[in-house]
Every structure is written in structure tokens, then in C-alpha cells.
Amino acid sequence: MDLVLQLLFTGIGIGAVYALVALGFVLIFRATNVVNFAQGEFSMVAAFLMVVFAVDLGWPYWAAFLVSLAGMAILGVIFNLGVYYPLRHRTYLPVIISTIGASILMANLTLALYGPQPQVLQGWFETQGIQLGPVFLDSQYLLIIATTCVLVAFQYWFFEHTMLGKKLQATSQDKEMASLLGIPVVGMIMLTFVYSAILGGIAGILVAPILFVSIQMGSTIALKAFAATIIGGFGDVAGAIIGGLALGIIETFGAAYVSVPYKDGFAFLMLVLFLAFRPQGIFGERVAEKA
């Protein structure tokens, strides 16, 4: 039982990381119908920015955090202008390739600028965690789970209770109609990329104290997050969260009870099963195709 609880906690923790990155996927997909294969690199870049500001320059943690996220916002703008916007009228394939190119570019540019050494980034808390009976709760995982909850709540509030959120939704559902209502569609898409970059950045900064800051940290998480997105159903925020958590838990338990070396296989096996038998994900499409 102790074992199960401990595995469950870790599973939820790692699942929350997938969920955070998956949120970014879903947002961009909903706004543009494009899968951003460079989403993981957003996390990596943010973590390196954090290292630069908090470790190398020795700024206070919160200041470094805010400046890093501001940096991510700028990256989101550049990404939109350089990688997505010029291709917005083309089919999905060139956009996929273009985001893959962007991911190679970001990873290796970071390597060129910062060098290959993995870096240490301290967590928010001094203490490592809490011993709760037989279960050790890592403080950073607790923070990640809490942040995921807060961000989901924020996202819910933002999309359901603000005009801006409604405008973003309208843009993702029918761009032409949105522009007829005076909604600045180009700006909305820009905003989506900025927000996704920030979300990816938060995920990266939160996970850095656990996984350390390395060039390839983004791509490993992103593939899993991608799987989580499909399991949850593309285009559904709640689905991304559930999918991420489910994946984290299944992976952890699968590793404990089935096989550690094939751990990564569970994610993809689940993904294939979902695509074969329930391609619409756990929740299905929220919006019917034929109105």
C-alpha cells in the first residue's frame, strides 16, 4: 500500500508536468489547428533563461522568474511571426515540418549560446519535501501539482468568464466570422502563441529542479505530453489534464509492475490504442462537427 501511494504521488507529479505542456499544445491546436512540435523547446528555453537570470546573474528568484516569462512571451511572438504566420494558409504538413525545424533551431541555438553542460536550478523551497506517513512528498512535485491546479482554474476562468477568453474561443472556432465581428484575429493568434510559450515556460522552470536544465529536457517531455494530448482528445483542455495525469500514473505503475526499460513504451502503446479505438480521446469532441 505504501508502495502504491508513493507511486501514485510520483505518477501524479510527473503527470502534472505532462499536463502543463499538453495545455500549451491544446491551446495552439485550438487556435490554429496546428500541432506545435517545438512546444517542448519552449520549456527548455525558459529553464535556461532561469539559469541565466537566477544562477548566473544572481537575481532574486521571483524577478528571474518574471523576466524569464517575459522572455518567453517575446519568443512566442517571434515564433508566431517566423514559424506559423507565413504558413497559415497552407496545409498542416508544411507547418509540422516548420515547427520541427524550429525545435531543432531552438535546441541547438541554446547549445551554441550556453554550452552543453546540464545546469542546476534550485527549487522555490528550501526543504526537499514532506514525509507524510510512509509517503515522501517532494516539495517541487507538490508545487507542480499546485501550479497545474491554479493554471487550470485560471484557464477556466479566463476562457469562460472574460471577453478576451471568449474572443480567443471565437477565433479558434471560426476565424472569418470572428473577423466580421471586429475581433483582431491575427492578434488573437499571436496572443495564443504568447500564452502557450509562457505555459511551456512555466512547465520548464518548474520541472528544472527535478530533471535539471539540459538541452534535451524539452523533447523528452514534449513527446509524452503530445501523447497525453491525444489520449485526452485534441482540442480539449480538461482532456489534456486528464490525459497527462493518466499517462504519468500509468507510466509510473507500469514501470514498477511491468518493466522499467519499456516505460516509454506504455505511453505510445496507450496512444496507439486510443487512436485505434477512440480517436476522439477520452472526452470526444466538445463541439460537434456539423452545427
Binding site: Y92, L93, G101, A102, N108, A112, L271
Partner: protein, 598 residues
């Protein structure tokens, strides 16, 4: 996932492709290819290359074979495959494990690897039934990841991450140069086949599926099977390349067949231009050479891979058709147009099985959720008549046509064509049964010439007027184009035709199939008045040959003059049916169109 016509890659492709890939009319280029291949093989066998150049060339040659596979599945058929490295690995591991551990003949291992990959590829292709776009991409990524995991972890069989060393190759090819020459020969051979593929029945089917799935189905192509074939061929070529690669480098390990490698294969295909094997070779060569050239940037780690990533983005942004697409469009400007070919007369001899009624629709309904787009409609089309189906916007006409041709399944009712029940038959089976149609928004295969479009129509299984030989197909297609008045423009690409002429080509495509019944969906939409007159004359000529036509159109002048019988729909129901003149003066019809008086 949408399965619309634009599913897949860009509909527009290198304008030169179709022309450059046209082989049958250029016997000289066959010889040219042979000569070039012989020279390449000779050079590979005799040039005093040092080890580095040999390795580079060997890598390029074997990779290019795998990239050919992608040019088939992606370029010809428009389906994405992000697992080519896995298939490459199948071939490599078959040769590696087979020769190193079991000392089986290289050739046998190579063949075995190709067979296994063929099976796996077909299996992957089967998923296209339900999935397209991003989902398909994700399935192939998952397949790739699982294959990598097995390669790494099934240590007792694959040697795990240690990889397989001491891979053997046939004794006659034991020298590096001999082996390279052999790889180049294989490259040339496969390249020739891939070059010729677009002109084959299967190749045309793939291109049709890529350009427009709906139209392909309506033209009698089994879309699903075509995709499965494309995946299988892609996997087969991947495995061939991988097997040769293993023989060339004598050592393989799982990281050579990872997802990252699949991306590199894809980029190679895109960089060169996905629609052509020449593009594949160019792309492969570039992507193997560029990192080598850029090694001078090594003083800053990561810089050249960063530039590589940037290059990928720039290519996608500014050279959508790849390098070869760019070059061939330039070459194309200086290419002389082929001489017009002689065309015979088009014969329309629809076979006759059933009785007087060619199409019998009973109680047909199509509901979309709560929306009753078509609600219990009866239509009977008499043999050799022109029958019109009319009604205001949103009355359900196009829905009926889509149900008739199998694009939508019927909610209720039956459809009998020439005596046979086709209510549940898939699109291509209906076409084989003799149903031909055109679309309201023209659905032609846009990267092909007019002739190729019409040849696909003529190829319909069940067309008894052609024996399936290339000459017979071409002859019939030429006749069909001449029949609609486009003689002399057969070799031009669809994009160079005016809108009105594109409509005529679509009709020619349907006519070439020698259908039992021709469905015309708003053939006059978007035509100017002189084009409408031409269309009218054409309809008369078709009717004169005894072909039954069911036409939907808004141009009442055309409908009333061409059709002998009219069925009128409103709100998904039949509101009038009978001889033309009577129906058009029917008060319900007038009020449906002009609004009721009350």
C-alpha cells in the same frame, strides 16, 4: 479528422512534375536514364575514392533509396509517415542479425527484411482508414518509438544498444567500391521504378488520392487500398535502403533508426521536392553533405545544427516544392510543348443489365443529427433520358447526389443502379457499377495533365470499352477530350485551363469511364454565357449517344431546355415531378423559388 479533398499535402505541387514525369512519350529519356545510371555505377566502381568519400556516398545512396519510399507515400499519395527510420531499421536489422548471428545469405536476409517491413508498412497503412493528418503523424511516431524501444531492449535478439557488428556482405561485393557500385545500381534501379510509378495504374491512383480523395473514389479508385499500398511500398523501400546500409557499414545500432532519423528522412524528401525521385536524391545528397560542409562551424557546438533547423524553416517558407520543384519549374519554361496527338471519336456504349429505369431511388433519407437534409425522396430516371433535379438553395439536391455517389451513407431508403442495389456500396464500387459524376466545385487532380485526369476515368474497372493497355487508355482519353472540345490541349496541366474548360475536363473524365449514368452537379455554375452555350451543346451530344444523365443546376434555361423530366425538391422533400414544362409552371415550384404570395 476531415477527409476532404485537400486532406494530405499541398494540392499544388511543382508545376513541372507531371510533365517531367511523363515517360511514355519520351523514349529517349529512358535511354538517357540508363546511360546516366551506367556512368554512375561505373564511376562508383572505378573512381579512386578515399574512405570518407566512400562512406558519404554509401550513406547517401542507401538513404536515398529510403527517401524514395517517402516520395511515394508522401509525394505521390499525400500521406505522412514519420517512421521511415523504423522501416530502414527493419532492413538493417534483418541483414545485421541474419548475417552476423545466423550466417544466413545476405540476399535472403535482405529479402526477409523487406517482407517484414512490407507487412508492417501495410499494417500502418491500415490505420489510415480512420485517421489522417496529425493523428496519422502521431501513429507513425508511436510506431517509430515502439520499434526503437524493442531494438534497444530486446537484447537477446537485437543485441540491444550494443548494436550488431560483423555484418557480412556477399563475397563478390566484399570491396567497398564494388559494394558502393552495387548500391548505386540498386539506387538507379529503384529510382527508375519510382520514376515510372506515376505513369502506372497504381501511381495514377496514388496521385489521384493525393490530389482529391473524393474525386478519386468517384473515379473508381479504392482510396483506402491505394493508401495501404503506398505505405507498404514506402516501408519496402525503407527496408531495402536499410539492408544495404547495414551491409555497407558492417555495424548498426538502435540510435541510427530513431525518431530523429525519421525526421531527417522526411526533411530530405521535402528539401529535394517530394513529388519526384530526382528531388529525393538531391535532398538526400544535400542533407548528408550540408552537415559535413558545415563542420567548420564546429568551434561553437550546436551552431551548425541550429543553422540546419533554420534552413528547414526557410525551405518550407520559401521553397514549398523543394529544390527540384524550383529547378524543374525553371526548366519547364524552356521545354517545348509536346505535339498534339491524333484522337478518334468517343464511343459511349453503356452496358445494359436492368430494365427501362436506370436509376431507381426509393424513400431516400439523409439526416445529419436532427437536420433532415433529405427526407424520403423517390426518383426514377429513365434510360437514355436527361433528368433534372432542382430546388432552391439548401433543399437537399447536393446531399442527394452525395448519397447517390456514396460520399454520405443513406439514413434510409434504397438506391438501385441499372438493376443492382448499390445503397450500401462504397464509392469506388458504385463507380465500377457504372456511376459517373462531376462536382459542383470542380474536383480535378490538379497536379496532373488533362490527359492523365481523363485516363484515370478511362481506367475504371468495369469499363468494357478498353482492354487496360496504356495505348487503349490513352486513346480513349484523347477521344473523350476531343469530344468535349479540348483537342490539342491534352498535355497541359489542369491549372493552365480556364474554369469552364476545367468543367469540361471533369465531364470528359466521367465520360471516358463509359458510365451507365452520368451525374452532373451544377455544371453551369460559374460559367459565362458563351460557356453555357458550349455546355448545352455538349449535353445534347452526350444525350444523342444514349447516355442517361441526371443533372442538378440553377440555370433554369439550361435545365428546361436540356431535361425532358424534372424532379423538384424543397426542404429535403420532393414537391414536384414530371415533364419539364409542366413542372416549371407548377405553383409550388414557383413559390419555392420566388417566395409564396401569402
Amino acid at each position: 479528422m476531415s477527409t476532404g479533398g485537400q486532406n494530405g499535402i499541398e494540392a499544388k505541387s511543382a508545376p513541372g512534375d507531371a510533365a517531367t514525369l511523363r515517360a511514355p512519350s519520351f523514349p529517349v529519356s529512358h535511354l538517357g536514364f540508363l546511360a546516366l545510371s551506367i556512368v554512375a555505377v561505373f564511376l562508383a566502381a572505378t573512381m579512386p575514392f578515399d574512405g570518407y568519400v566512400l562512406n558519404i556516398l554509401m550513406q547517401a545512396a542507401t538513404y536515398a533509396i529510403a527517401v524514395f519510399g517517402l516520395s511515394v507515400v508522401l509525394g505521390l499519395c499525400g500521406q505522412i509517415n514519420l517512421a521511415q527510420a523504423a522501416f530502414f531499421g527493419f532492413g538493417a536489422y534483418a541483414v545485421g542479425i541474419g548475417t552476423a548471428d545466423y550466417h544466413v545469405s545476405f540476399w535472403l536476409c535482405l529479402a526477409l527484411g523487406m517482407v517484414v517491413a512490407l507487412g508492417a508498412g501495410a499494417m500502418l497503412g491500415l490505420t489510415t482508414l480512420k485517421l489522417g493528418g496529425h493523428y496519422l503523424a502521431m501513429v507513425t511516431i508511436s510506431f517509430q518509438q515502439i520499434v526503437t524501444l524493442v531494438m534497444t531492449n530486446a537484447i537477446s535478439f537485437t543485441h540491444g544498444p550494443d548494436g550488431v557488428s560483423h555484418i557480412e556482405r556477399p563475397s563478390i561485393l566484399s570491396s567497398q567500391q564494388a559494394y558502393l557500385a552495387f548500391c548505386v545500381a540498386a539506387l538507379a534501379f529503384v529510382g527508375y521504378l519510382v520514376w515510372q510509378l506515376p505513369q502506372s495504374r497504381l501511381g495514377r491512383a496514388m496521385r489521384a488520392v493525393r490530389d482529391n480523395e473524393l474525386a478519386a473514389g468517384v473515379a473508381g479508385i479504392d482510396v483506402y487500398r491505394t493508401k495501404v499500398y503506398a505505405f507498404a511500398i514506402c516501408a519496402l523501400l525503407g527496408a531495402l535502403g536499410g539492408g544495404l546500409f547495414a551491409g555497407g557499414f558492417a555495424y548498426i545500432s538502435p540510435d541510427q533508426f530513431s525518431f530523429a532519423e525519421s525526421i531527417i528522412f522526411l526533411t530530405m524528401a521535402l528539401l529535394g521536392g517530394i513529388a519526384s525521385p530526382i528531388g529525393s536524391v538531391i535532398g538526400t545528397g544535400f542533407l548528408i553533405l550540408i552537415p559535413e560542409w558545415l563542420r567548420f562551424l564546429k568551434s561553437i557546438p550546436g551552431l551548425y545544427l541550429a543553422l540546419y533547423g533554420l534552413a528547414v524553416i526557410l525551405i518550407v517558407l520559401f521553397m514549398p516544392d523543394g529544390i527540384w520543384g524550383f529547378i524543374s519549374s525553371i526548366i519547364d519554361r524552356f521545354r517545348a510543348k509536346p505535339a498534339p496527338q491524333a484522337a478518334g471519336d468517343l464511343v459511349l456504349q453503356p452496358g445494359q443489365r436492368g430494365g427501362e429505369t436506370v436509376l431507381e431511388v426509393n424513400g431516400l433519407a439523409k439526416h445529419f443529427g436532427g437536420l433532415k437534409a433529405v427526407d424520403g425522396v423517390d426518383i426514377a430516371v429513365r434510360r437514355a433520358s436527361v433528368h433534372a433535379l432542382i430546388g432552391p438553395n439548401g433543399s437537399g439536391k447536393t446531399t442527394i447526389l452525395n448519397v447517390l455517389s456514396g460520399i454520405y451513407g443513406a439514413t434510409a431508403g434504397t438506391i438501385r443502379l441499372d438493376g443492382a442495389d448499390i445503397t450500401r456500396a462504397p464509392t469506388h464500387i458504385r463507380s465500377i457499377a457504372g456511376l459517373g459524376r462531376t462536382f459542383q466545385n470542380i474536383r480535378l487532380f490538379r497536379t496532373m495533365t488533362a490527359l492523365e485526369n481523363v485516363v484515370i476515368g478511362a481506367e475504371r474497372r468495369g469499363n468494357e470499352l478498353v482492354d487496360g493497355s496504356a495505348q487503349a487508355l490513352e486513346k480513349r482519353a484523347l477521344a473523350a477530350l476531343a469530344f468535349v472540345g479540348l483537342k490539342g490541349r491534352e498535355q497541359e496541366l489542369i491549372t493552365s485551363f480556364s474554369y469552364g474548360h476545367q468543367r469540361l475536363i471533369e465531364i470528359a473524365r466521367a465520360l471516358a469511364a463509359n458510365p451507365v449514368l452520368l451525374l452532373l452537379d451544377e455544371p453551369a455554375a460559374g460559367l459565362n454565357s458563351s460557356e453555357k452555350l458550349e455546355l448545352h451543346a455538349l449535353l445534347k451530344r452526350i444525350a444523342a449517344q444514349g447516355l442517361t444523365i441526371l443533372i442538378i443546376d440553377h440555370d433554369m434555361t439550361l435545365v428546361s431546355e436540356a431535361a425532358s423530366h424534372i424532379t423538384v425538391l424543397n426542404f429535403g422533400k420532393r414537391i414536384a415531378d414530371g415533364e419539364s414544362v409542366g413542372v416549371l409552371n407548377h405553383p409550388d415550384v414557383i413559390s419555392a423559388y420566388l417566395g409564396s404570395d401569402d
